[in-house]
């Protein structure tokens, strides 16, 4: 029987020395770090309403392609899909000839606390869809919904499906009550009425704190220890800081929309039961008949695959495709594997379904 540790004291000392040297180099590099904003691809603003902006990416050559409208979650900014040139779902889609639009929901303030899911889904989203349809003179466009934006897209497809040709959902929760869904588990006994009535809008810092504590040691400590490994590489530091900025530069949540999303989706699990009502209209996933591509991440701790997979049996379409990606909730957009696999899969799937 051996001891589980076989750490040579000299090597351990060298390891600490390396750590120290990287810290020292890191301080200089941090002071020299340049601009690390996100939003890499050229784009133009084509529609604006309240705090919402609808962007059209202009760097592609998308003649003849049916446009894709990307709708992101409310809980972060949508720039994760266009973080930097070599980490951009949008850029890879444009390279393949897709025509891409993106909704930026904006940063709600307390004047926006009364925005409901109806305002977001049958109001803002619907008007963005109409804008794109009108610009292209099309009856139907493609919709790509991400995370909470994917749940919105499902509701929209069920209620206004005649405006959509194809639906793509990415890391989208459908069954909110699976055993491994920690986020859902934690919300189940919140008094959401008390919560929203007290906070009005839900502060972004509170949302971020909640996400960080789902994996407390990994996200609050190990991540920064890992950062030291790249502190001597200015480009990697910039990548790290850009991601940090994206994570923490997040909007507050409009109170009423948050109230309904937690009550009906997280607590009541009504989406998969067909009991969600948006503006008085019942969302029946069985009424979704268009082709669906459902993409989920195998190591996703926010939307575990078990929450996404049930979409297959919940919808009415006979043209349902699943793509299981080896990665996490963020890696599905920014990892090198994601750059290789996801945009190509989306493009090929759409090409086979011209509508």
């Amino acid at each position: 029987m051996f001891t589980p540790l076989r750490i040579d004291p000299q090597k351990a000392l060298a390891e600490i020395d390396t750590f120290r040297r990287k810290l020292a180099a890191g301080m200089q590099n941090l002071q020299r770090v340049g601009d690390y904003h996100f939003g890499a691809s050229a784009k133009e603003l084509v529609y604006e309403e309240d705090k919402l902006k609808l962007w059209h990416f202009t760097s592609g050559s998308a003649a003849g392609r049916r446009p894709i409208l990307v709708t992101y979650a409310l809980v972060n900014t949508p720039w994760m899909v266009d973080l930097q040139p070599d980490r951009s779902l949008v850029a890879r889609l444009l390279e393949r000839g897709e025509d891409v639009y993106l909704i930026e929901w904006g940063y709600p303030d307390l004047a926006d606390r009364w925005l409901t899911l109806e305002d977001y889904i049958l109001g803002y989203l619907d008007r963005c869809v109409d804008q794109v349809r009108t610009r292209h003179g099309l009856d139907r466009i493609n919709l790509l919904g991400i995370c909470e934006g994917g749940a919105f897209s499902l509701c929209y497809a069920a209620l206004r499906g005649h405006k959509l040709a194809n639906l793509i959902t990415m890391v989208t929760p459908v069954d909110f009550h699976t055993r491994d869904n920690m986020l859902s588990h934690w919300t189940r006994q919140l008094d959401v009425d008390l919560f929203v009535d007290t906070l009005r809008n839900v502060p972004a810092d509170l949302m971020n704190w909640c996400y960080l504590t789902l994996k407390p040691v990994r996200l609050n400590q190990q991540k920064y220890v890992g950062m030291v490994d790249v502190l001597d590489d200015p480009k990697e530091i910039e990548n790290f800081l850009r991601m940090e900025k994206w994570i923490f530069d997040s909007p507050d949540q409009a109170g009423e929309a948050f109230r309904q999303f937690i009550k009906d989706f997280y607590q009541g699990n009504k989406l998969i039961k067909g009991e969600v009502e948006i503006g008085g209209e019942r969302v029946d996933l069985k009424s979704i008949g268009m082709p669906i591509l459902n993409i989920f991440a195998e190591q996703d701790h926010l939307v575990p695959p078990s929450a996404s997979r049930p979409l297959r049996d919940a919808v009415g379409t006979r043209d349902y495709t699943e793509l299981s990606f080896k990665g996490g909730h963020i890696g599905i957009y920014v990892s090198s594997r994601a750059q290789r696999e996801v945009p190509g899969a989306v493009h090929d799937w759409l090409t086979a379904r011209p509508g």
């Binding site: 029987m1 051996f2 001891t3 589980p4 540790l5 750490i7 040579d8 090597k11 351990a12 390891e15 600490i16 120290r20 810290l23 941090l30 002071q31 049916r66 606390r113 009364w114 109409d130 009108t134 003179g137 099309l138 009856d139 139907r140 005649h162 405006k163 920690m182 588990h185 934690w186 189940r188 006994q189 919140l190 008094d191 008390l194 009535d197 007290t198 906070l199 009005r200 502060p203 810092d205 509170l206 704190w209 504590t213 407390p216 040691v217 990994r218 609050n220 400590q221 190990q222 991540k223 920064y224 220890v225 950062m227 009423e256 109230r259 309904q260 009502e277 503006g279 008085g280 209209e281």
Partner: protein, 307 residues
């Protein structure tokens, strides 16, 4: 205090500590965060790195001086012996929403402690006369603060349990690595193994029905305290003739409802919204959205205020 290291290693360790402190102060001074949240995040990052650095030093001291066959058990003690690993990672649950309850709790601590020692009976005493409503609200707030403190205690107990589960997992993972070729050969590998074990331990507790209940109770308790303080502040603001958040909310709600009505009226006047000029073949759209809207049930805005 000596670490048990030879003098040259002691001097080296001292040098590293100075380098660390230099780096810590340099980064803190150069990153220029201005918001409270940014400073909190920077603080978390620096604390995380410092914790890791301290851990490396501690592990190195033991590896350099101890009996190799007993090292891993003493290392377990060094990581988990001083408490549980989640306190730093979590920070303080009550400060997460932009400060508030913890600061209030600190301020009220001197009042709360005698209240608790005098028993809850004091807080349940009936009120009389002109000021009875004010007194009841103040008593309720005090009860809510006492309850919040209790819920925080339960929550911290669960975090401690998660720490113990992590320690058990860590020990099991180490015990599983006694075969040649599977042994841990670097400090970083040991640290990563500990993180994996700590997260596993945490997940076991955080997915339990007990966690769900305690977590919900903690958040609800914090919200009751916040709401109580808001009521007190609003009461004072009204006395001074100042506008209050509730009044602004009422105006916002009315404006929001009015905008909805105007938009719906416009849509009806426009005949259900503009249809695009179709250039591609597609299935016939279902009846116009306006018809669907006209037929649907009256909507609720979702608002449900508490009184």
């Amino acid at each position: 205090m000596t670490s048990g290291l030879p003098p040259e290693a002691e001097a080296y360790t001292q040098l590293m500590r100075q380098a660390w402190e230099h780096w810590q102060s340099g980064v803190a001074g150069s990153m220029g965060h201005s918001s409270a949240a940014g400073e909190a995040q920077l603080e978390r990052m620096l604390t995380a790195l410092k914790s890791y650095f301290d851990l490396l030093e501690s592990l190195n001291a033991q590896i350099g001086s101890g009996d190799p066959t007993q090292q891993w058990r003493s290392i377990l003690g060094s990581i988990f012996g001083s408490g549980q690993p989640f306190s730093q990672a979590f920070g303080d649950a009550s400060t997460s929403a932009g400060g508030g309850p913890q600061a209030w709790m600190d301020a009220f601590a001197q009042v709360l402690t005698p209240m608790q020692s005098a028993g809850q009976a004091f807080l349940g005493m009936p009120a009389f006369g002109m000021a009875r409503e004010h007194q009841e609200r103040a008593q309720q707030l005090a009860r809510d603060m006492v309850d919040y403190r209790e819920q925080m205690r339960r929550y911290n107990q669960l975090l401690a349990r998660a720490g113990r589960r992590g320690a058990e997992r860590f020990e099991a993972r180490l015990a599983d690595r006694t075969e040649p070729g599977r042994q841990v050969e670097s400090l970083r590998a040991l640290y990563d193994l500990w993180v994996d074990a700590a997260e596993d331990g945490f997940q076991e507790v955080a997915l339990s029905p007990e966690w769900r209940e305690v977590y919900g109770a903690l958040v609800n308790a914090q919200m009751r305290v916040r709401a109580g303080v808001q009521r007190q502040v609003e009461g004072s603001a009204r006395e001074l003739g100042m506008p209050t958040r509730t009044e602004v909310d009422t105006l916002g709600k009315r404006l929001h409802d009015l905008r909805r009505e105007v938009r719906e009226l416009k849509e009806r006047l426009d005949g259900g919204g503009a249809a695009p000029t179709a250039t591609t073949a597609g299935p016939t759209p279902p009846p116009a959205a306006a018809a669907t809207r006209a037929a649907r049930k009256p909507r609720s805005t979702g608002a449900r205020r508490r009184t």
